[in-house]
């Protein structure tokens, strides 16, 4: 009697567990009770990036230049800087974490729901480089001059090559369209239309009017002017004497000067973003105008800025951000307070972002991207749908198979399987509130589907054993008991071997494998509980001598197998 009371309590607990987990995993069931639904509906499964779209980045942090005692501090500082930078995106729940892989220090960044991947990567990695430069007065530093020379040499080489092509019989107009750097004539095949002498620069003019160049001919040499290297063709001419007009055409390969590279027109002053004490957004004319960025330099910066402004009165100082001029104010007088403003053409958003990034400064360790996975939200959504559908099909097919084979016991196993699914979902949803939040990825769903098939294995072993015991003529209740007892060693050993490999998989720990292995091991453990403990309580509760009268319920074999 006591035993029966105990089993009733246990069965009631199973039902309660089923109710709670069922509601948590499928709140839509109580939509008719809006307050309850509202609470339950807030519990969400933490979906991985491959299901909701987003980007996973792994950076290697180069700590070789850092004293070993300070490495962990530097990494934590880098983590904090990156965290602030990604928070600026305003995407839901970005993740930044340090990880160690072999001897490498890694920083992992995950941004769910991000749209512009390349911009995100830029924002994470790059510190804005702010630099103040003063007018170079035509004096270019050595590096700059070298760069210019290189560009011009290659221009000249290209021009020579083009001239060769013309001599080889290629069409002038086609080449002009392709290579000419003169925007005015390029599209017309280099055609400059009729013009009188004196309109062009002297070197050019001379070729058209003072040489023996005939209409339809190309001048055999390159002509160098202030603009670059010209290949000149005389198309036709009309008129006589002062009225002589020539219709010429040219292909221009330009020469570059410092003016083409604003950076070269200015020289470094040594004043840069590292001298910043603080930056903030300010407004021109009492909060009404467009936003501008106010800078406060540190002591060294203040001195430098004073010197620069002193020697640049009446001239301009250029402010470069990431090698591009954003502002080029003219200095009116020496500024000694160490304050400056940048009045670029900023929107409020840009100004805010820039200030944030300027204040954060540089990353304390250089980082290199070593792995990236990004998934568009649309792709994630369809992957989620497909894999869930596969799960439903798998669950349904396994259920049919079990009921077909094991009749009443099969029904119980299927109910246990449903409860298992509900418990797993509940676990996912509640884990969010613990430090061990489970993220469900596509591979995790694959692990879950596989675990459905594995979950009923224990039941198959138990039921087969029960049938066997029944065939020896033992009663239903005793056969069930024996079935559970004797199937246990195989079930245990089988689960342990599966867990050995899943634990190894978790240890190997890359994204796909980990997502799969974590959920598979959880599933294997949890299903052990539902398939053994819960099914045992349920079968014990309903089993009785009444079953003997309906042998088809258990599909009891009529005789022993080996006879």
């Amino acid at each position: 009697m006591k035993q029966q009371v105990k089993i009733r309590y246990q069965f009631a607990l199973v039902l309660l567990l089923g109710l709670v987990c069922g509601l948590i995993s499928y709140p839509q069931a109580v939509k008719f009770l809006p307050p309850v639904f509202a609470v339950l509906d807030q519990l969400k499964v933490n979906k991985g990036l491959d299901l909701q779209g987003g980007i996973h980045l792994e950076y290697r942090a180069d700590v070789s230049q850092i004293e070993s005692a300070k490495v962990s501090d530097a990494l934590i500082a880098a983590e904090a800087v990156i965290e602030r930078r990604v928070n600026a995106f305003g995407v839901g729940e970005p993740l930044v974490q340090l990880s160690r892989s072999g001897t490498e220090e890694r920083i992992i960044v995950e941004l769910p729901g991000i749209k512009n991947v390349e911009q995100a990567k830029k924002m994470i990695k790059e510190t804005p480089f702010l630099e103040f430069r003063e007018e170079a007065d035509g004096v270019t530093d050595e590096d700059g001059q070298k760069q210019l020379d290189m560009l011009n040499t290659s221009s000249k080489e290209r021009a020579i090559a083009t001239l060769e092509q013309l001599k080889g019989g290629q069409d002038f107009a086609t080449l002009a369209k392709e290579f000419s750097a003169d925007p005015g004539s390029k599209e017309n095949g280099g055609d400059l239309d009729f013009a009188k002498s004196g309109l062009f620069v002297p070197e050019f003019d001379k070729v058209l009017f003072d040489t023996a160049l005939q209409a339809g001919q190309v001048y055999p040499d390159l002509v160098e002017t202030q603009f670059g290297y010209h290949i000149i063709k005389k198309i036709e001419e009309r008129g006589e004497g002062d009225e002589l007009e020539v219709r010429g055409a040219h292909i221009l390969l330009r020469k570059y000067s410092v003016n083409d590279f604003p950076k070269l027109a200015f020289k470094a002053t040594g004043l840069s973003g590292k001298n910043l004490k603080n930056a903030f957004v300010d407004f021109q004319s009492q909060g009404m105008g467009s936003p501008q960025i106010a800078l406060q330099f540190d002591d060294e910066g203040t001195n430098l800025f004073a010197e620069i402004t002193k020697r640049s009165i009446g001239k301009s100082v250029a402010i470069f951000l990431d090698d591009e001029i954003i502002s080029q104010p003219t200095v009116q007088n020496e500024i000694v307070g160490g304050q400056a403003v940048i009045t670029g053409d900023f929107t409020m958003q840009e100004a805010n972002d820039l200030v944030k990034r300027l204040n954060e400064g540089a990353l304390p360790v250089p980082i290199t991207l070593v792995a990236q996975q990004s998934v568009d939200a649309s792709l994630g959504e369809s992957a989620l749908k497909e894999s869930l559908f596969a799960g439903v099909v798998g669950l349904g097919a396994v259920a049919i198979y079990m009921v077909f084979y094991y009749r009443l016991l099969g029904v119980i196993a299927v109910l246990a399987l449903l409860l298992y699914t509900a418990m797993l979902l509940t676990l996912f949803k509640l884990s969010v509130f613990t430090p061990f939040a489970i993220t469900v990825t596509l591979s995790g769903i694959a692990g879950f589907i596989l675990s459905i098939g594995i979950a009923v294995d224990a039941n198959v072993l138990i039921f087969e054993r029960t049938r066997e015991e029944l065939s020896y003529g033992k009663g239903v209740i005793r056969s069930l008991k024996e079935g559970f007892r004797r199937a246990w060693p195989s079930i245990r050993d089988g689960h342990v071997s599966t867990l050995i490999t899943t634990v190894i998989l978790i240890g190997l720990g890359t994204g796909f494998v980990k997502g799969f292995a974590v959920i598979l091991s959880l599933g294997v453990l949890l299903s052990l509980f539902t398939a053994v403990v819960l099914v045992r309580i349920t079968t014990t509760f309903i089993a009785g001598d009444w079953m003997e009268r309906h042998p088809w319920l258990l599909a009891s074999p009529k005789k022993r197998l080996d006879e």
Partner: protein
């Protein structure tokens, strides 16, 4: 009763044939390694232009970005799959810029980029993982069957299970060498995960049979010979071996058919492994016990 053990020569011959075929496939063609192992980039894009630019047009636009071993494959819905070796991230940016000039409204569906150091480590982990799993299972079975009585020791049980497992994964690897050669199926980290899962799961059926052998050995009279005991155990458990595998095979077929492109071949690897795992549990693993018994008693 089925005479399974008695006819083990046929099973051995069949398995040997499969293994030789697998080894030949692997040594002829090798596995087609994906970016997980080689490093590089896999990029999937969808064009907004209808019709999508032709493969040659895409190749043309990318010719300026010197990409190593670029392969391009059109996919459904005006999409394209690009694979190339890239040593750093700048190549990825350049590719995207070029593609945008082709179609400004292009959607980047996914990018997987694996740097060289990461792929090296994945490779190392894969081997470590497989070796550790096999060792772990061997040790566990040897331990779980430590009380087994008779000529065949618990280590022999462990060895029998491990040989059957090696058989299973060699066949799966052979199949993927074939799929790689003729259908361009690449293997990556998911493949390794599948192999390890096969190791852990396929041994279950073997354990069920071994467990029954152990039970029958304890109960049997000394007159019944080892071969018969093993064969009887097999016959008693074959129903559950098939049924436990069937439920898993059903779910794996669901993954292969409906689970979508990204996990399809993961499912195929698991499915092959489980099918051959069931076969080897029934026809190979137990037969090996008998062969081992004969070896020991003949001396």
């Amino acid at each position: 009763m089925l005479q399974i053990i008695q006819k083990r020569k046929y099973a051995y011959a069949f398995s040997l044939l499969l293994i030789v075929a697998s080894v030949v496939c692997v040594s002829l063609w090798g596995l087609k390694l994906g970016i997980d192992f080689k490093g590089g980039t896999l990029m999937e894009v969808r064009f907004a232009l209808d019709p999508a630019p032709e493969v040659r047009a895409i190749e043309g636009s990318l010719s300026e970005v010197a990409l190593q071993s670029l392969t391009l494959q059109p996919t459904d819905n005006r999409g394209a799959l690009l694979r190339y070796l890239a040593s750093d991230e700048t190549a990825n940016e350049q590719v995207l810029t070029k593609l945008k000039t082709l179609d400004p409204n292009i959607t980047l569906l996914r990018t997987d980029f694996i740097g060289g150091s990461v792929s090296e480590q994945i490779k190392k982990n894969a081997f470590t993982g497989i070796a550790l799993s096999i060792l772990g299972i061997l040790l566990y079975i040897a331990w779980a069957f430590r009380r087994v009585s008779g000529v065949v020791t618990s280590w022999d049980y462990g060895a029998g299970a491990v040989i059957a497992l090696a058989h299973d994964i060699i066949i799966v690897i052979g199949l993927f060498a074939l799929l790689g050669k003729f259908f361009d199926i690449e293997v990556g980290v998911p493949f390794i995960a599948a192999l390890l899962t096969i190791l852990g799961y396929s041994v279950n059926d073997t354990i069920v049979v071994y467990d029954r052998v152990r039970e029958n050995l304890m109960r049997s009279s000394h007159k019944e010979d080892f071969e018969n005991i093993v064969n009887r155990s097999l016959n008693e458990t074959i129903g559950r071996s098939v049924n436990t595998s069937m439920t898993v095979i059903i779910t794996l077929i669901a993954i292969v058919l409906f689970g979508g492109e990204s996990i399809r071949y993961f499912g195929v690897a698991l499915l092959t492994g489980v099918v051959f795992g069931t076969y080897s549990s029934i026809y190979i693993a137990s037969a090996l016990l008998v062969s081992r018994y004969k070896m020991k008693t003949d001396n």
